[in-house]
Each structure stands twice: as C-alpha cells, then as structure tokens.
C-alpha cells in the first residue's frame, strides 16, 4: 500500500520526532530515517496510516503557528497534550526502535555495535574501566551451598 502522506506531512513527522526525542547531539539523518520507518509501518497498517494523516493535520492546528515553528518548550507542551492518543503512541512505538537502532545514533552515543567480526572485546577494552579499583572475582563464601541462615 503506498503512503498518502504528503511531503509536508513527512517533514512535520520529522519535526515531531525531534521534539519527542530531543537530542542536541543527533544529526538529522536518524530522525529522517525514523520518520521513514513510521511511514513504512503505516504503509502496511491502514489504521496507523489513517491516524497519521489525521493526527499530523491536527497537530498543526494546535496553536496559532504550525507545529514546526513552535518554541521547543511549547512544542513539548503540545506533545504532552496528545501523549495518550493512538496517533502519538503509534508513532512512538515504531520510532523509539528505529531511532535508537540507527548506527549513526550509536556512533554519537559511543556504542560500538557488532563485535564478533572484530574478535570480541577481549583485546578491545572489555575491562578497561580505570576509575575504580579492580574488585575480586571469586566468591567470598560459596553462595550456592550456603545453608539457610535463619
């Protein structure tokens, strides 16, 4: 099923995601791809697409100016107002997975992703934390055989 969303509605969706998941450090790419994931999910789910079409239009009519031109604080208030609508929860459901699974986001967060093809972390810092002393690794007693103490 092709999407009925206009280009303007797609741009609005990107802005909605930036307001809903506000990271100063994230570039535009991940938000655009997360928006695309929502559009794709909606393409396979008429109910979600219907909610998107209506919901995005409604979003622009919440204040005097279009959503995209709202102050971040006001935008957040607008989103809080619609937080429990199926329109918004439907978007969040898909977007939270797509956004934080984006490799560009991983780079920003410092997550290194797949490790097996690089030989794991055994020689790449699995134990390089140096701001605490090295703790013991052996058990003090023997937890599994300890009898009930009370």
């Amino acid at each position: 099923m092709p999407t009925l969303l206009s280009d303007d509605q797609r741009r609005l969706l990107v802005d909605l995601l930036r307001a809903a998941f506000p990271h100063d450090t994230f570039p535009m790419g991940p938000y655009e791809r997360a928006a695309q994931a929502v559009v794709d999910a909606a393409a396979a789910n008429p109910r979600l697409q219907a909610q998107l079409l209506q919901g995005l239009d409604d979003l622009d009519r919440q204040r005097e100016v279009p959503f995209s031109r709202l102050d971040p604080d006001i935008a957040a208030v607008v989103l809080r107002g619609i937080a429990d609508t199926p329109f918004f929860t439907g978007i969040v459901d898909v977007a939270v997975v797509a956004l934080y699974d984006d490799h560009e986001v991983w780079d920003v967060l410092g997550y290194e992703g797949a490790s097996y093809d690089k030989g794991g972390y055994i020689d790449r810092g699995f134990n390089d934390l140096d701001w605490l002393p090295d703790p013991r690794i052996e058990s003090y007693g023997d937890d599994s055989r300890q009898e009930a103490s009370a």
């Binding site: 998941f21 809080r80 699974d101 410092g110 794991g120 972390y121 002393p133 003090y140 599994s144 009370a150």
Partner: protein, 521 residues
C-alpha cells in the same frame, strides 16, 4: 541424519529442544533410546545469528501471537509479548545468559518455611536439595559452570567492576563473577569467551552452553536422535487405556503428521507446555491431558524481576564483554525480616542502545528519556531476580485468538502478589544503593521485561490433587507422559531456573531409563 518411522511406536518423542528437552534427548540417546525431538522453530546455528538486538530478536524469538490479562505491567507495556522465549533449535538456551545458581535447601520447602501466605498457593516440593545435589553436580559439569568443579571464574568486565565495587562499599560480601555456564577457558570442545557480548542474541562463538552447541550434537553422535525442526506439536494422542500413544504435529509444509511413541515428554517452556496439554483435551480428558486436578496452567510464575541502572560521570561501556557476568548473592538469604518472604539475586546486565531505550521506561519519550539515553556510555546495569509467589489464578488458558494454523494461542494471566511488589521495591532500592555507593549521579528503575523465566503451570506435587506431575516429572494421570521443563517447578526459588531444569531432566532420564525397557537397543 537418523530418521525413525512415523509409525515406530518404540520411540520417545520430546516436544521442544531447549534446556529441558535437549538435555533429556541427550541423556536418553546415550542410553540407547530412539528419540524424536519435535522443535517448532528452525535449525539456526552461530553463523546465522546477528550481533544486533532487534534483528536477532526478530530472527529467533517466539513472536507468534499470545494474549495477556491481569494487573501486571506487561499487560500494558507488551500485551502480545508476555514472554521472551526462543523458537528455534536449542530453545531459549540460545538467548540465555548462563547464570547458574542452585536452589537453597529451604526453597524446596517453601510452604513449610514461609508458612501460609495469604493469596499465595505455596506447596513444598516432593523432593529435597540432597536428592537433587548429585544431579546439580552432573548439570554443572555438563554445562561447564564457572567457579564450580575446577572451572575458573570469568574475568571482571567493566560492568562488573562498578557492580562489585558498589557491593563492597555497601557491605555486601557474597559477590563474584559467577557461576555462569560460559567458558572462561576452553572446555568440552567449546572455546573460551572472547568477551564478544550478544549473549542474548545467540552466542556466535559457542563458548556459552546451550543445547544447540552441547547436548544436541552429542545426542546426534549416538545415532539415536531424530531431530525435526519446524515441527510444531499440536496434540498428544492417547489410547483407550489413557496412555499417550503419539504426538500430532504440523511440519514445515503445514502438513499434519502423526509420530507414534512409547513415551512422550513435553518441554515447550511453561506457557507452551500448558497450552499443548490443554489443547490435548479428549472425551477421556475433557479439561486437557493430565489435568484431572485442574492444575494444568495454574501457578504460572515468572520471578520477581526489575532492572536498576546507574549513571556516572565517567564511561562504563557495559556492553563490552559478557552480557551477564556478576552476581551479588547476599539478598538471596532466608530472612523474612525484610518485609517479604523469599530472596533475590542481583546480577549484572547490559543492553545495547536499541533495547535500552525501548525497555528503560516502556512507552516513554521526551527530554527525560533523551537524557537517560544520552548517558548510555556511562551506564552500568543490574537485574534483580527473586522468588515470586505461586498463585492459582495466575494461569495459562487457551485464548480466543488463534495462530497461523488456526490453533488457539495461550493467554497469560498474571497479577503481582503483594510479596512480589515488596521484594521488587526492596531490590530496586538496594540496587540503587549499590550504584550510589560508587558515585552514581542518577539511578533508574526499570519494570520487568517480557518474562525470560517462565515457571510453574504443571507443578510437581506429592499428592495428585495438588499438582500435575510427580517427583520425577511424570504426569499423575498418564504414566508414560512426562514434563521436562520449568513447568514442573512447585515454587520458583530465587535462583535462575535453567541449572535446575537441566538437573531435573538428567534425573528424569535416569528414571525413564530404569522404568521403560521398550525401545532400548
């Protein structure tokens, strides 16, 4: 590849190839029993696995529909995903983390030890720790559990360093990196861990024990294993005398097959095990097979769990290395003075950003979530796992929803018991204190994930009226029908369940071998 005839009525048919089914298969095959394992999922191996959370989950998790009800948070947060169970050869041992504590002796006598807890349906196990001890030894040796029988401990990874230092500062004494069924050094033909993480995604390297890499290949080598992937059991058949005679299953082409059997074992992991017994209703067994007590599906348990995250000013990089490799056992003690009965463990846990963001505060968004995720690199994590109270009303029933074959799926009903709530609160407070003791500027308490420990539903009991199976996991009502997974747990104890499932399956194999001569080579 061994193949037995559909009409060969000498075989043992095992439904499910995970911890319970895979172990029983190996133990029976090496004793000469012709064994057919029916596994609903595909036969994937390390090469197929993804070092990627969502991709791996989509590839292997049981995502066929299930429904939920009850007051537990899962019914809101993940209404169609009550449990995280793997549907593939090896079952959930492909995604498990490997924590292997034993039960404590009082945990086999929960009713006697804790007394009559209102709203709980506690019952003593019909077996004791001392009866199971030799099998715990065998299971630990089989699985290569670290810190046991001469197996060296796993080294401290970054997540453990934070966890253990915090534990020490708080005055806990019983912390260590084990016991885990992951090789710190090569063992049993499997390599040492290269600290590559992604244990929850199937361990590509094979240093973690699973039935896929250990029990099933050994069973296969005997020539007595007929492993049938993509084969979902839908009904256990019985004869006029009430004995099980075979299993009907849907194969990969959607064709219904009948495999005759001398003995049937069900090891589909609590939810599916109860579902299959309920589906196997007949004129003789109107409420489902092995269900004259009405206990099939009841007393579903999932452990009292929760996660605590600590965020620091400096990097942790919790994802580097084994996903879980640290235990604090102090709170697993018997001590009813804490406002609840039962104990709990704290265990290190790491998630990647994708799961972290999805699970840290389900359904949340906004600046608060963004800030938490921004702190990902500096985050340490621990999981709390403790004994939950069995309740007859927490149960698996057949839903109105059907699967792709038109078969009713399981509905999972669960209400937290007040004891569960009190324990979770205590655990989360203590967990936060561990991290604050080493300078966490923020701690976050995450509600339970879809259940990874699924227990009860066919509990073991001395008296047939109190449960579904006897002390060997044999159905009270059907002498050649066995249950071989965590469904048989009379109570849940604090310990992660798999070591006990493996020990019980090993013990059950001894029993079956001495009791059934049929099918012996």
């Amino acid at each position: 590849m061994t193949r037995f005839d559909y009409d060969d009525s000498d075989v043992v048919v095992i439904v499910g190839s995970g911890a319970g089914g895979g172990t029983l298969a190996h133990e029976l095959c090496r004793r000469g029993f012709k064994t057919v394992v029916l596994e609903a999922g595909p036969h994937l191996t390390g090469e197929d696995y993804h070092n990627d959370e969502w991709a791996a989950f989509g590839q292997m998790a049981w995502t066929d529909p299930r429904t939920t009800s009850g007051s537990w948070a899962i019914a809101d947060d993940f209404p169609n995903l009550p449990a995280w169970i793997v549907k593939a050869v090896g079952g959930t041992t492909t995604h498990w983390a490997g924590a292997c504590p034993r039960f404590k002796s009082h945990e086999f006598a929960a009713r006697t030890t804790y007394g009559d807890i209102e709203g709980a349906d506690l019952l003593d196990w019909p077996i004791t720790l001392s009866e199971l001890e030799p099998y715990y030894d065998q299971a630990e040796i089989k699985m290569g559990v670290t810190h046991r029988h001469g197996r060296p401990p796993l080294p401290a990874n970054n997540n453990y360093k934070v966890f253990a230092n915090g534990a020490d500062k708080l005055g806990y004494r019983d912390y260590s990196t084990g016991p885990y069924a992951t090789n710190a050094e090569p063992y049993d033909g499997r390599p040492a861990s290269i600290q590559d993480g992604f244990n929850f995604q199937g361990d590509k390297h094979g240093s973690k024990w699973s039935t896929l890499v250990a029990e099933l290949p050994k069973a296969e080598a005997t020539g007595n294993l007929d492993l049938r992937p993509d084969s979902q059991a839908v009904q256990i058949l019985h004869g006029p005398d009430g004995r099980a005679t075979g299993v009907l299953y849907v194969d990969r082409n959607g064709t219904l097959r009948r495999q005759r059997a001398a003995v049937v074992s069900v090891a589909g992991n609590s939810i599916e095990t109860a579902r299959l017994l309920l589906l196997s209703a007949s004129t003789r067994f109107p409420d489902g097979m092995a269900n004259s007590s009405g206990q099939v599906g009841r007393n579903y348990m999932r452990h009292t769990t929760g996660t605590v995250w600590g965020q620091f000013d400096k990097p942790v990089r919790m994802y580097r290395g084994e996903t879980m490799a640290g235990v604090i056992a102090d709170e697993s003690r018997l001590d009813t003075g804490r406002g609840f009965v039962g104990g709990y463990y704290m265990q290190t846990i790491a998630l990647g950003p994708a799961f972290f963001a999805k699970f840290v505060a389900p359904g949340s968004w906004g600046p608060k979530l963004a800030e938490i995720v921004d702190g990902y690199l500096n985050t340490a994590g621990m999981w709390i796992v403790g004994e939950d109270m069995p309740q007859g009303t927490n149960r698996i029933t057949l839903s109105d929803t059907v699967d792709e074959h038109g078969i009713p799926v399981a509905n999972v009903h669960f209400d937290d018991h007040p004891n569960d709530v009190a324990m979770r609160r205590h655990g989360q407070q203590q967990g936060a204190a561990v991290y604050k003791a080493v300078g966490a500027h923020r701690t976050i308490e995450t509600p339970p994930y879809p259940s990874t420990h699924n227990l009860g539903t066919c509990r073991m009991s001395q008296r047939p009226g109190d449960g579904v199976v006897d002390r060997f996991g044999r159905a009270h009502d059907v002498p050649n029908l066995f249950v071989t997974d965590g469904s048989v747990f009379t109570t849940g104890a604090a310990a992660n369940p798999t070591l006990t499932i493996v020990a019980l399956a090993t013990r059950q194999a001894d029993f079956i071998a001495s009791d059934f001569r049929t099918g012996r080579n």
